[in-house]
């Protein structure tokens, strides 16, 4: 950075105004790009393309069969999961979690709604079918007696 400025100083001194200006502009654009990247926020899942489309039952089955193999396929990926709404939960802060899966089974796909898309979940009703897009953050194996859960984060509801 300092080197660039020194260089710039010399070039400007030689009255090569055009070249100087060009370098200044390039440096400015570089800094602007850097700052933009530094301040970049997470992509809204409503505008993101899914890496994998999969029914909730299949996703659960895959994780129950092999945790590590499924992580290789789904962990950190944008998933579009469709299935039956088992229940809709709200926590003490008003954040929604849509739970997908078979009511007869303890296992579920838990979709934690994106903070900017909370309202969409409030209109849902249990028992209906739905598609949800979110980032897969992994699997909580049933070692606490609570059932196994695949967790999706930053979720948005997709229109069926």
């Amino acid at each position: 950075m300092l080197l660039l400025l020194v260089l710039l100083f010399f070039i400007l001194k030689k009255q090569r105004k055009l070249t100087g200006l060009l370098i200044l502009l390039t440096a400015g654009a570089g800094i602007w790009q850097g700052l933009k990247e530094y301040n970049r926020t997470n992509t809204d899942m409503a505008n993101a393309a899914a890496d994998v489309k999969i029914p909730s039952s299949e996703l659960i089955k895959s994780y129950e069969t092999s945790d590590s193999l499924s992580n290789k396929k789904y962990l950190g990926k944008i998933l579009e999961v469709n299935g039956h709404i088992k229940k809709i939960e709200t926590d003490d802060n008003g954040s929604y979690t849509v739970v997908l899966g078979d009511t007869s089974s303890l296992s579920s796909v838990r979709c934690s709604m994106d903070s900017t898309h909370q309202k969409d979940a409030s209109k849902l009703t249990g028992g209906s079918s739905i598609s949800i897009r979110g980032v897969c953050t992994g699997f909580n194996k049933d070692d606490m007696g609570l059932g196994s859960d695949v967790i999706l984060n930053r979720c948005v509801i997709l229109k069926n």
Partner: protein
């Protein structure tokens, strides 16, 4: 005949009682909040996770806690990406876990509303490393639920989390962890 009937009623009442007391032994959440905070003169960095799992057995005081590292949300996407790929390596180690015990469990009356201080002792696994930790948690018994809050500090080097040299001034060597869980009775 009457005796048998009485016996049956008594038997079922005991069964029902046993079921109730068993149900209230365990408290859990699947929407626990974990916040971490790194503070240096250069930069403050924080991240939140709102899908932590916790189960507390009030009878024995044993506590299990799990959090998926990819579920931590940062304000800046770049920090989130670095956190996952460079620091906690969440592809290799997706989950962090605490398994421990409330050592003063007999001092807490879970059936009586009020505030208690729980002394916790156990093991925390993160980034493939497991370390003993001790901390306290504020417990509040209210309307049949348990509000649990805890703040503690971990040293990144203990978990073999290395900070690249060019950002050593931006990331604190010890991280403050805040846990906020509303535990409900497990039915």
């Amino acid at each position: 005949m009457v005796m048998i009937k009485k016996g049956i009623i008594l038997f079922y009442s005991f069964m029902a009682l046993a079921a109730i007391s068993k149900a209230q032994d365990k408290f859990y959440t699947k929407t626990g909040k974990v916040l971490f905070f790194s503070s240096t003169s250069m930069e403050n960095i924080s991240a939140t996770n709102k899908s932590a799992v916790a189960v507390l057995d009030t009878k024995t005081g044993s506590l299990q806690f799990g959090v998926l590292l990819k579920g931590f949300e940062f304000r800046k996407a770049l920090m989130q990406e670095h956190f996952n790929s460079d620091y906690v390596e969440s592809d290799k180690f997706p989950r962090s876990e605490f398994k421990g015990q409330i050592i003063n469990n007999n001092e807490i009356n879970y059936s009586k509303e009020g505030s208690y201080t729980a002394k916790l002792k156990g093991q925390l696994s993160l980034h493939g490393e497991t370390k003993d930790i001790e901390t306290t948690a504020a417990l509040e018994v209210k309307e049949g639920k348990l509000q649990a809050n805890s703040v503690f500090t971990i040293v990144l080097a203990d978990y073999k989390i290395e900070i690249p040299r060019d950002v050593t001034n931006n990331i604190s060597k010890s991280i403050k962890i805040t846990v906020d869980c509303l535990l409900e009775p497990l039915k």
